[in-house]
Symmetry: D2
């Protein structure tokens, strides 16, 4: 995981709940931001993909929490392509506090056309950005 | 205020922060929901307004907090038309825990066309739903 | 699934994103609300559990989306106990628009002590409320 | 305003609603983050204030929107101390897209003790960080 792309997250005060840790739903918000940053880092700004007529849609998510993170913690989200299929792809995420993995996530996306005509095959621009799969944990 | 429309709010666990009270931004979320419910209660479901080509846009909000509300508190949001202009209107909100006013809000909206052509005068269907102004506090 | 507990959800305007469907993270917010309502419906208001010194913590979530839901859709979240272990339990969720299952969720919780002393076995009050497992889909 | 502290904001995809602009409630989330960053920039990390027994609570907010901001827009939030009283203080915010002010905010806070004993006078550490008032618009 050492070489995975890392997206820094600043925990917002509002994301922390009365248990004093980040409420679970915000992890999906972070993963979404980290996904777009990951693609941009690999040469595909999300807007460029949209302009080319492609969008992605989440069809599955899995999250495993080992420990909570709090306000003021230094957090990064590591992102890696885990699987690249014909019409769908999978990303892996690790939420790190310093070097401790506090949470692992895996999300599956399909590609859809922005004109509303439904799913399509992964376009070359997206396949290039996703690159060779390097899952963060066994598939 | 006794006769104002009342919209029940169930505080979500995630809306409560580490201070153990609802974080301030969620009040604007509640006001938005309460606004749509208020119009529906007065005969104008929001979708009907959209289908007729009208939408509303928030241009100003003011909120005054007297005390916080917590998870599990029984909350209602009272809504009343405070002012009805030619191109804008004002709604007043009271956030009530039982009969205690914990927070007062005032929001100003303009009407916009759904076709992107900009602001327009308040259409009769909306003016009818808003009714005669009865501000919850002095304008 | 016909007999599962059902929790009504009103989609908030802010939950809908530029794709015109509810953004994925809000499903976890709904599941959290539905979980508390489910326990209350089965005789265990969440506050009563907290006062007895028990709290629950999410350790895993899985969500599968079949289709999106939009603002104004009539949504219910069906909830059922899927597994009841010694220290953890699993809930199943179906997000229904009318009678169509648009999304399925499964969440795993552990019980923790409110005094910060860590995880503990599922207390009888919670086991009683969870009842006999009836998963909404194969485990 | 040129010299005001500026806090960069990355608009999250989920913050954009079906009108394709950021939903109003997220501005309060941004102001909260910008406030903490402003104090830290002026020598008072929020955690240090909490450890010293002080916290702040929002008692009033005003927001005026001139135009919406969208996903991918480059946004900064300018922050300035607008008023410094004995027990309360006021911050001004400008939301900028490039150099265009799209929105102005003003928030009033009181200082509370973290031990639950209520409001107190503004402590010197906070007054020092707030500095001499320089409102972004007339009070």
């Amino acid at each position: 995981m050492t070489d995975a792309f890392r997206f820094p997250v600043t925990v917002r005060y509002l994301e922390v709940d009365a248990q004093n840790v980040v409420f679970n739903s915000w992890y999906l918000a972070w993963f979404d931001e980290a996904m777009a940053a990951f693609l941009a880092d690999r040469g595909l700004p999300y807007k460029q993909m949209l302009e080319a007529g492609h969008d992605v849609q989440l069809v599955r998510s899995e999250i495993d929490w080992r420990s909570g993170v709090g306000w003021g913690d230094e957090i990064t989200v590591a992102v890696s392509t885990a699987r690249l299929g014909r019409t769908s792809f999978v990303l892996d995420f690790d939420v790190l506090r310093d070097e401790e993995i506090t949470c692992g996530g895996r999300t599956t996306y399909v590609v859809i056309a922005t004109d509303g005509s439904g799913t399509r095959e992964i376009p070359p621009m997206l396949a290039d950005a996703l690159g060779a799969p390097m899952p963060l944990r066994p598939l």
